[in-house]
């Protein structure tokens, strides 16, 4: 890795940590606001479900998120505090659809010990103050004045040092907090304090409650009329107020999240560590609490946050599994569950380990992650680019073009696949057995190369060869009309739609024909000054079968021109610059925006916005897709049109949020593609590649593809073994009722089906810390090595290293070696085994004993590290990442050209670190600096401060790392802002776009 780096997230954070519901975007609109680490998402509740409105990057990791309604306001404000002690209050301005900052600030203290149990940020229900517990022994108050403005913050000494939770009580004349804490004898109590704003101090509150459940961890304040607080423990739930105390026992569980159902606070949803969802009810007679009731509703993902939305629909946000939208039914289903999952939202986190493999052997690395935790543990196969799922394939050399045709105009499916070769044309069709077989369209010329084919009106087909244009009946397959090229001219380029044909002959002649019932009429002929290289008349205007514009690419002056149809008037001429001729032009429309795409012979692609009424081309952008000529074709998938760019690096061009995106297709080289939507293979593509014709379906069009393999247990380490085509994982399973609640396993999985094929249970109190597949010198076997650690060192013997071979799909233990500490990391090193054992690095030799068995023999070691956690080797070098000295745990795998993958500190981002040449680094750093001036931090938060390095001891500016997320946001800017940056940089917008787009193609 070089010292000049570009860091970009390949996948936005998906781990949901907070959520809240309120009227944020308008007084009548109900919104769900979700925090995912460094981003918030604003959703709107609609009859169709949750409608995502905005994804808001926050320059900081979100620690608390609260909606509140200041006095006199018609809608809610959003309070966000970040882990690095910044906070902001945001308001939605509906007129401009912008987030505006009402207040912000820094709430850090120069001295103080950060809390162990997380930061607490709460808002008084009567909006008198914001309370923060950020450092042990301190409670920070930000008071509101009577106009709802925030005033200078101050600290109050809080006697309780081990605070577990703090909430504001409802219905108190003075702002009152309730504190759940643990004393120095590990007993847990609650205490109330009134906040005396004038004296800046606490006054003893109305009540206390001592000696609660030892697992009490969560407070739920109850709104009026009942008021008081619920104290959620592991074995009991208690309701407490100044004049009432009610308790019920519960089945042992750790409650992770709650959501209030009713405005009067009589019902709550509780989510526990096993993903069980309970309903807690406070029974009451008028305002007098009479008791508590709890009922199991069913199972969800392990919740980190629960938000009741509307009409019995609930959002379950999860850090350990996929987040969910659920409905609470009045009647249980067959399994007795009242929970119905309506939607699932992917969460990759927490990623604790991953490996990079090439499962499909296409030269495209895939990342297999150990994701999720506990019962929501899973493997996720994350693949960059779009996959083609091969359905059928035949060997066919020398394909020059392909088109699909229907047997009648209103047939929804394609029947014929026309495949053109240098001196012949062959027709393939689906037979009754749904097999592709060769057939004939009698009216077609089969002894020549086809230049273009298309379905036409009146059940006709059009075929263009170098000498003529034929019109053939699609039902009788007989020729109905033939138009011949003028004497001495051959047709070089052709295009057509259902009613029109546009041809180019040598000498720059452009000929326009219209298709009738059994006739072709030459409507217009025009001679241009140079030869024509490519044409398109794809109808993207109001008329679906005819185009009013024609796009023409030219040799010699290297231009692309727009002509009007039918009169062939030149409307626009755009010089492309350079010396590379356009090879393919395409008129297309995405999300209601019309574009002209123009592919050059060197793998570059230009795109322009096309004004359909004036023919004007604007907003030129250039990207590099490959190095070879590109052929552009449209295709549909799930009722949306996309463009396939066939080249040495096939790419799908699509649009998301009105922005063109480019996604790699996981194929090496594609010379031609055409959509082939047959009854047997609906929504398929015919693809010509490397002497082969393939029919396949295409994945959903998006950048990253994630496949989920639920394990029902928590995978912690993974390795892949190419030879046996297996994965080995170290996993743990929580037994709900057993005495020993954790069981640890080594499991072998088939790398195609992901089925468990062999399991090796570990001893009690023993778990797998590291796993590796490697081979040793002088042994041909590939071996799986496992490093173990004991988590109850007193009870059992030594930690050890186990060596397995995979034989007949089974894990066979062949050697074990005791070690003097936990084996945190294992690496293959020059045919030997390198192990990080506590503070020591140990090298083992693979020895052959006299009796033919093997053993691991210690060869040498290196001491003096704090705790060796990760070791990477390359060649003869060993890089060691130590705990304590580590700034960033980066693991650099050269997965596929240029791209590398890393885990950042909290294991919840999936990202890319790419090394940059110094020149590019300097250029991009300048761009980043300029972008900081134009793109403002939401809530007034500062980008530079956020990206600075920080630990307990120091904070310094980020060096040698660029934030790709900020740099790539250049492409989201409007033209005016792009121009601003272009001016400041002294670089054209086109060049900036091109350089940034190239970076987006890294991931």
């Amino acid at each position: 890795m070089s010292i000049w780096n570009y860091v970009v997230t390949a996948h936005k954070p998906t781990n949901v940590t907070h959520s809240c519901v309120g009227n944020f975007t308008a007084p009548q609109e109900l919104n769900l606001i979700v925090a995912k680490c460094t981003r918030i998402e604003i959703h709107l509740l609609t009859p169709q479900g949750l409608q995502p409105m905005l994804d808001v990057p926050i320059y900081g990791r979100i620690a608390t998120l609260e909606l509140f309604r200041p006095h006199g306001e018609a809608q809610d404000f959003l309070f966000i505090a970040t882990e690095r002690y910044k906070f902001c209050v945001l308001q939605w301005d509906a007129e401009t659809s912008e987030l505006i900052t009402r207040a912000m600030g820094d709430v850090s203290d120069r001295i103080g010990r950060p809390t162990d149990n997380g930061q607490i940020g709460i808002i008084d229900p009567d909006c008198r103050l914001i309370g923060l517990h950020l450092y042990d022994g301190l409670f920070k108050v930000i008071p509101f004045d009577n106009k709802g403005q925030l005033k200078e913050a101050f600290n109050i000494r809080l006697e309780e040092l081990q605070v577990l939770d703090i909430k504001f009580l409802y219905g108190c004349s003075k702002p009152t907090i309730v504190v759940l804490y643990q004393d120095n004898k590990d007993a847990r109590h609650v205490k109330t304090y009134e906040v005396a704003l004038k004296d800046k101090d606490f006054v003893e509150g109305p009540w206390t409650q001592n000696n609660l459940d030892n697992g009490a961890d969560l407070l739920i304040p109850v709104p009026p009329p009942l008021c008081g607080v619920l104290i959620i423990g592991e074995e009991t739930i208690v309701y407490c107020s100044a004049n009432a105390f009610k308790a019920i026992p519960i089945r042992p569980s750790i409650t992770k999240a709650y959501g209030r159902v009713d405005a009067d606070g009589s019902r709550y949803l509780l989510g526990d560590h096993a993903g069980l969802l309970h309903l807690l009810v406070i029974t009451h007679e008028k305002e007098k609490v009479t008791g508590l009731k709890i009922e199991l509703l069913g199972e969800t993902s392990i919740a980190s946050t629960i938000s009741y939305l509307d009409n019995a629909v609930v959002y379950i946000g999860s850090s350990y599994g996929d987040s969910q939208l659920i409905k609470l039914n009045l009647q249980p289903d067959a399994k007795g569950s009242y929970v119905e999952v309506l939607e699932r939202y992917v969460n990759l986190g927490p990623i604790v380990d991953f490996c990079v493999v090439d499962l499909e052997r296409q030269g495209q690395g895939q990342v297999v992650t150990c994701s999720g935790a506990y019962k929501d543990g899973s493997l996720r196969i994350v693949r960059n680019g779009i996959g083609i799922n091969e359905q059928a394939s035949v060997e066919l050399q020398g394909i020059k073009g392909m088109w699909s045709l229907r047997s009648s105009t209103d047939d929804p499916f394609d029947t014929f696949l026309v495949v053109s070769f240098i001196s012949e044309t062959r027709i393939l069709a689906m037979n009754l057995e749904d097999e592709l077989e060769e057939t004939e369209i009698e009216g077609f010329c089969s002894q020549a190369q086809t230049l273009f084919c298309h379905d036409a009106v009146y059940n006709q087909l059009v075929q263009v060869t170098s000498s003529s244009v034929r019109l053939v009946s699609s039902t009788t397959r007989e020729m109905r009309y033939e138009w011949h090229a003028p004497q001495g001219y051959s047709l070089n380029v052709a295009t057509a739609n259902a009613t029109q044909v546009l041809l180019a002959t040598g000498g720059g002649h452009l000929v326009y024909l219209e298709i009738g019932d059994g006739t072709l009429t030459e409507v217009k002929h025009e001679q241009l000054e140079y030869e024509i290289s490519c044409l398109d008349i794809n109808p993207i205007g109001d008329n679906p079968i005819s185009s009013q514009l024609a796009a023409v690419g030219m040799w010699t002056d290297i231009s692309v021109r727009i002509f009007s149809l039918p009169d062939l008037n030149l409307i626009t001429k755009e010089s492309l610059g350079g010396e590379i001729i356009p090879r393919s032009v395409l008129l297309c429309a995405f999300e209601g925006i019309s574009y002209l795409l123009c592919a050059l012979g060197d793998g570059h692609l230009l795109n322009f916005l096309l004004n359909m009424s004036t023919g004007e081309l604007t907003d030129r952008k250039k990207v590099s897709l490959g190095t070879q000529p590109i052929t552009l074709r449209t295709f549909s998938s799930k009722n949306t049109t996309h463009v396939f760019a066939a080249s040495d690096r096939p790419t799908v061009i699509y649009s998301s949020n009105k922005k063109l995106l480019y996604s790699n297709v996981n194929l090496k080289e594609v010379s031609h593609m055409c959509p082939f939507n047959s009854a047997a293979f609906p929504d398929s593509l015919a693809i010509a590649k490397e002497g082969e014709l393939t029919i396949g379906t295409i994945d959903d069009i998006q950048k990253l593809h994630i496949r989920s393999i639920p394990l029902g247990e928590h995978a912690r380490r993974i390795c892949h073994q190419e030879q046996s085509r297996t994965f080995a994982i170290c996993s743990l399973k929580n037994q709900s009722n057993a005495e020993e609640s954790e069981m640890h396993f080594i499991r072998l999985l088939d790398d195609q089906t992901f089925d468990f094929i062999s399991t090796y249970p570990l001893d009690t109190f023993e778990y797998g810390c590291s796993i590796l597949s490697c081979s040793f010198s002088d042994d041909t076997n590939v071996i799986t090595v496992l490093g173990l650690r004991m988590f109850y060192p007193k009870k059992m013997s030594q930690p050890r290293i186990l060596v397995f071979i995979v034989e007949d799909g089974k894990l066979q233990l062949i050697v074990e070696k005791e070690t003097k500490g936990a084996v945190y990391s294992l690496n293959a090193f020059n045919g030997k085994l390198l192990a990080a054992i506590n503070q020591k690095i140990q090298l083992y030799k693979w020895m052959l004993r006299d009796d033919g068995t093997r053993e691991l023999q210690s060869e040498c070691g290196h001491h003096g590290h704090i705790l060796a956690l990760f070791v990477q080797t390359r060649g003869d070098f060993i890089v060691l990442h130590e705990e304590g000295a580590i700034e960033e745990r980066a693991r650099d795998y050269n997965a596929n050209w240029m791209s590398a993958v890393e885990i950042l500190d909290d294991d919840i981002y999936l990202g890319v670190i790419a090394s940059l040449p110094h020149e590019q680094y300097v250029f991009l750093e300048k761009l980043q600096t300029n972008l900081r001036k134009v793109i403002k931090g939401v809530g007034g938060l500062n980008h530079e401060q956020w990206r600075s390095f920080n630990n307990e001891k120091k904070t310094v500016d980020a060096k040698n790392f660029l934030d790709g997320d900020l740099i790539e946001s250049f492409l989201d800017l409007n033209r005016i802002r792009m121009d601003e940056i272009s001016k400041a940089m002294g670089v054209s917008v086109e060049e900036l776009c091109k350089r940034v787009e190239e970076l987006t193609r890294l991931h």
Binding site: L30, L45, T46, P47, Q48, P52, M53, D55, V56, C88, V89, D93, E98, L99, I100, T101, A103, M104, G105, D106, V107, Q149, L150, K151, E152, A153, F154, N155, I156, D199, K200, V261, R267, L279, E295, L297, Y308, L309, D310, N311, A312, V313, K327, L328, Y338, E340, V341, L342, E343, R344, Y345, V346, N657, Q702, S708, V934, K936, G937, G940, L973
Partner: protein, 95 residues
């Protein structure tokens, strides 16, 4: 159980009325547009940039107590107690 589950709050009866459960193997792929503010109101009004008061708790307490004493003293001088009991008492202790 039925009575516990019934009657869930409804703010707008139309919300979710047309939502059908999706294929559980197919996660939701709706991605909202990313917000890139370029306006100037990302900065709060100047008086709403909040900091913590510089005075530490101990110093604040000392001042508060001193002020409190002063207030009591003033209160005492402004509304002298007719019997002058405290004064006599203090005088007697000062011996």
């Amino acid at each position: 159980m039925g009575s516990m589950l019934g009657d869930f709050p409804s703010f707008d009866p139309h919300n979710f009325s047309q939502l059908r459960p999706s294929d559980p193997s197919n996660p939701s792929k709706m991605t909202p547009a990313t917000y890139r503010p370029t306006h100037n109101r990302t900065l709060p009004p100047p008086d709403q940039v909040i900091t913590t008061e510089a005075k530490n708790i101990l110093v604040r307490n000392i001042y508060q107590r001193a002020e409190e004493k002063l207030r009591l003293k003033r209160a005492a001088t402004e509304h002298p107690i007719p019997e002058h009991g405290s004064k006599q008492l203090r005088a007697s202790t000062s011996h």
